[in-house]
Symmetry: C2
Subunit: 237 residues, 2 copies
């Protein structure tokens, strides 16, 4: 069954985004009274589509039971990347259950974030994670948080990891095995050129544990998907 | 250092593909006597570029030592998919160390393989895995094997898994934990619509063990990357 995140719930009617009404009507070509799932504030509802020909509306039928797992919060911190790579990470990380995607300014990142374009980009990225959340039947849309400076990462609680290609640090496996007991895991991924020495030092000062990912050479956009895959695996019963 | 797979080695000269000469000359803009890495037959060489302005050639300098790990052979069997998804799997699976990608005909696959187009597609796919192998510094290019029928999969040796969304089967974690001792692991991924009952039965008859991947709903193209990530993780020391 198709799932949409609603913007608002007014009595028994859900208010959706215009794009979603369009999707219901013209992409899915739903019929009058067809049932859909609606999520709002992390609650799942069964709803139905009315007035499909005229002024379409989505009406509540009933609240649906669901198992809200107590889960480890998963945060990835990534540099600004080229559009295609960014889109890939946003979509796949959402499927793989990421909770927060923090965009961080890094010296060696090829893409510099331009403030005047940020709102437009953020709108696009928000749409991607919303659609991926609907498709992968999530109850929460991951948050996208652009940061102006690295220092604010010191406030992240829980296990904090930074992926560094050097072999002198521990493997991700050794650290994650002992770390899945905490309620939040944050993982920092660098740009192709790596972190600058200054950045590396700052992360270590802020309590990030350096880990290596094994002997494979992965592209930047592959690393978050690799990290989230192994976290899902490690947290699996 | 840039790495290329050579087609042939004639005494102290490596023969590369035309695209690679073009890459050296016009994309990388290498200088006379610049050093590169060459791989042929799983052996790594240091080489240098000569006659960069005229009739470019690549000359052997010395054989390089490398650690050839005794590794578990990793095979993924996937349906024919749309171009963009196929490209993504080929590139990322190569980074994540896949050895064989077997393309299988499945009833519910949206893309049907047309024999007359297969050679052209195979050429394109081969280029993608070659480039990804060079970039991720591999010594072997994964094989791409298009299959006409499923029955020949019965000859695969080692641990054979099929990903089925049903919850009645064991989790991938339980099966992989006990299976990393074998020398080869093959994993079958279905199309969005799943396997037909007939196909499912055939796989089970051929000794494939059904596994589920946990509670996440992943797109078809995400599954091979998830599987290879967790295998890398499980095999990590």
């Amino acid at each position: 069954m198709q799932r949409y995140f609603a913007k608002e719930k007014v009595e028994n009617t859900f208010i959706l985004e215009d794009l979603d009404y369009h999707h219901i009507k013209n992409v899915m070509r739903m019929k009058e009274k067809e049932e859909i799932e609606i999520v709002i504030d992390g609650i799942l509802y069964l709803a139905c589509v009315k007035n499909i020909i005229g002024d379409i509306s989505v009406e509540l039928l009933k609240e649906l039971p669901f198992k809200q797992d107590k889960e480890v919060q998963k945060t990835i911190c990534i540099p600004y990347l080229k559009e295609q790579k960014m889109d890939l990470i946003l979509q796949k990380a959402t499927e793989l259950g990421v909770d927060e995607i923090i965009l961080i300014p890094l010296e060696r990142s090829i893409i510099k974030n331009k403030e005047e374009k940020e709102n437009k980009k953020l709108e696009r990225w928000t749409r991607i994670v919303k659609e991926a959340s609907e498709q992968s039947k999530r109850l929460h849309i991951p948050k996208i948080i652009p940061l102006k400076d690295l220092e604010s990462l010191k406030n992240l609680r829980g296990l904090k990891l930074i992926c560094i290609a050097q072999r002198e640090c521990k493997s991700i496996k050794k650290v994650v095995k002992t770390g899945v007991e905490c309620d939040k895991i944050s993982m920092v991924v660098g740009p192709e050129g790596g972190f600058s020495p200054k950045e590396e030092e700052l992360f270590l000062q802020m309590g990030f544990i350096p880990v290596h990912l094994g002997k494979r050479i992965l592209r930047t956009e592959t690393v978050p998907l690799y990290l989230l895959s192994i976290l899902n695996y490690e947290l699996m019963e």
